[in-house]
């Protein structure tokens, strides 16, 4: 197949096209949108903003990709964000643990949430949507218990520089997320793991008979998803210097699922596209940033977002139909 043909058949294409069109429209109609300014040794502008503000959503979409590729879904990621950020806030304000240890414990809490969902799915054969609904409810509940129901302010220079700092002019959070995308994609594409994920998603019975340890693959995917969600929670809390158990990550799981599906990973599983998830999440964030930039009311923004998603999904479906006609 020619490189052009491969590009045209890529699953990530509709999401990439949506992102490209959106940025093009911004460039044409929104004054100064693409403008970048260097101030205090770092770049400022809408594009940088998309990368920085979008970091949590990008992380969730990254973790969600293998889970959906398995034919599952993880609704608990928003709650895992709240849990991890509250835990970090409590540890920072009430113990003398070093920041590194706090961050590690917070990530471990997300991993635990993910492994719990994964365990329910893999060993008790609970449907993913139900299993993660349980963790979604429990996770946020525990987060609120931990923080005593209020907003916990904390000080953490290390975490704060992770969330807000910059490196060679670019936001560290954004760079971190992009390198995690690269690392995860490498891990799944350059080892058999990615194929095993897709095989389980495509035909679980056949995967078992092939000797694939389906339970372990599921545990891995949900565990990774939970840990990445915890990192997203840390970034959000560190950005504002406080953990708000009731609001951190609220409904963000839905945006993440949207990003993954728009990105070309079918909800039925069997295929994954990390590039697609990246473009999908960036496009969703770019849309939000555009609304902010234009001063659109958030109610209107939601409706425009819905319309945009509809368009992207329709594009995807047209692409799928065309591929079927060719086949």
């Amino acid at each position: 197949m020619s490189p052009l043909g491969r590009l045209l058949r890529s699953r990530a294409l509709p999401a990439a096209a949506a992102l490209g069109l959106l940025l093009l429209a911004d460039a044409l109609f929104v004054p100064r949108f693409l403008e970048l300014q260097a101030r205090d040794g770092r770049l400022h502008g809408a594009l940088v903003d998309i990368l920085q503000r979008g970091a949590p959503l990008l992380l969730l979409a990254l973790g969600m990709t293998p889970v959906i590729g398995l034919g599952g879904v993880d609704l608990s990621v928003g709650a895992a964000m709240a849990f991890a950020s509250s835990l970090a806030a409590v540890l920072l304000t009430q113990t003398a643990l070093p920041e590194g240890a706090v961050a590690a414990l917070a990530l471990a809490s997300g991993l635990a949430v993910g492994l719990s969902s994964g365990g329910l799915v893999a060993f008790l054969r609970v449907q993913p949507i139900v299993a993660t609904l349980v963790l979604m409810t429990a996770g946020r509940g525990i987060a609120q218990l931990l923080s005593g129901g209020g907003i916990l302010a904390f000080e953490s220079p290390g975490l704060s520089s992770l969330a807000r700092g910059s490196f060679v002019g670019l936001p560290i959070a954004g760079l971190l997320v992009l390198s995690l995308y690269a690392a995860t994609a490498l891990l799944l594409r350059r080892t058999t793991l990615g194929l095993h994920v897709e095989a389980v998603g495509d035909n679980e019975r056949a995967a078992r008979l092939c000797g694939i340890r389906v339970g372990r693959v599921q545990l891995f995917a949900y565990g990774l998803c939970g840990a990445l969600a915890a990192l997203a929670g840390l970034l959000v809390a560190a950005d504002v210097g406080a953990a708000d158990a009731s609001h951190v990550g609220l409904y963000l799981e839905l945006d993440a699922i949207l990003a993954v599906v728009v990105g070309g990973t079918p909800l039925s599983g069997g295929r994954t596209s990390f590039a697609g998830s990246l473009c999908g999440a960036l496009a969703i964030q770019a849309l939000s940033t555009t609304f902010l930039f234009c001063g659109l009311a958030s109610e209107t923004a939601l409706c425009v977002k819905a319309a945009a998603v509809l368009l992207a999904v329709a594009l995807r479906s047209a692409a799928v139909r065309a591929a079927e006609v060719r086949a």
């Binding site: 350059r190 080892t191 194929l195 056949a206 995967a207 078992r208 008979l209 694939i212 340890r213």
Partner: protein
Amino acid sequence: MSSGPTLALAGITKRFPGVVALDGIDLDLFPGEVHALVGENGAGKSTLIKILTGVHAPDGGEIRLDGRPVRFADPREAQRAGIAAIHQEPTRIPEMSVADNLFLAREPGGTFGVDRSAMRARSRAALARVGLDLDVDRALGSFPPAVQQMVAIARALDLDARALVLDEPTASLDRREAESLLAAVSDLRARGLAIVFIGHRLEEIFAIADRITVLRNGRKVGTFQRERTTRLAVVEAMLGRGLREGRVRSGVASGPATRVLEARSVQGPGLDAPFDLDLAAGEVLGLAGLLGSGRSELLRLVSGAERRRAGSVRVGGCNLPPGDVRASVDAGLVLTPEERKSEGIFPNLSVRENIAVARDRAFAPASKVRQRALAGEMAQRLSIACADLEQDAGALSGGNQQKVLLARWLATRPKVLLLDEPTRGIDVGAKVEVQDLVRDLAAQGMAAVFVSSALEEILAVCDRAAALHARKVVAELSGAALDLDALVRAIAEGEAGAGP
């Protein structure tokens, strides 16, 4: 009631793209008769049933109901004409009550929606006709499967069915339940119903049927009077004789070969007696038996796809833990399942991925280039016909899918291949290719267990054969004792084969 047949089929023919599913089938069904329909998979039983019940329209031939030609446009018309089909897994809704299931989509009306009390009364009456007395408000799913079958029959009778088609009604029942269902069927016969009974268990067929019609490869082989035939004759008709192109295999092991597979007293779900299995390098063991005789179950227990309850399986001297497919694969013991589509192929993954998927453990390095090289080599070696290695495997023909499954396992360099009906549902050319491949692999020192419904195929491919009957291994035949007669006898009657 007239003395003619309730239902008569004459010269029914049905073609699907590329295959003739039914070729001039004649069949008649009298009131007060149980007419059994038997044949191996692909014989045409289900197509015939679908034509009888209006799901398919025949391409040729005629259906006469009480002597008048009829055409059914859809299942509803067939039902209205008095033909009801009870399927193995009927469309019942286990969460709904018995009464709801009986009157689904035809609930008696009242002033406010459904008249529940009328429905209950009519349900009780309908159940009484089949000798059941149930709490009609309880969920259908809370009753045992046999009762659920009877409820389905009660519904059919309440719809004034005169001809009942029972499609493997006992398949999911245990022995006692099956017996009570058979008693009920014989009761319905006494009341003048015309019954078509499809089944695999010859014991049941011979216990219940008045006549037995055998189908094979879309043709009717013959109709037998139960009291004037034997199981042997029926099995011969099902599996086909006259196809003796002579043994190809010498059946003589060449020198002392190393034993690669050793299963001892293996027991587990689906088999009624523990079995042993020995296999030497370079040997092909045929496994013969009718559908439901436990062939697939045996392979699944050996391979670890199903967890064995007792016994041991050793491959190349190393003990395999029960129910662990990965350990079996690592030891060199692999299974291609009978259900190729639902348990074998990954339809949306590419041919390359389908072939490479089992070779490496998780987290092992993978490279597209190496996978492509592997898949390319395999495609050439097994002559897999695909446009492109990146093509979805789901789009391949059955024969090519089977070759992809074989390629998947050959890539793991196995010692023992367990092949469950590897040539079922694939075209003749591919069939021969697969058979030749198994012989080639054996010549290279691989051992294989080859399950097939076609006895001539077992004779052509295998060095030895084991026969299963009623979920037990009943005979092992090799050398001079391995011939068609002995095999048929063992399969049909569960007798140990003709000894030396």
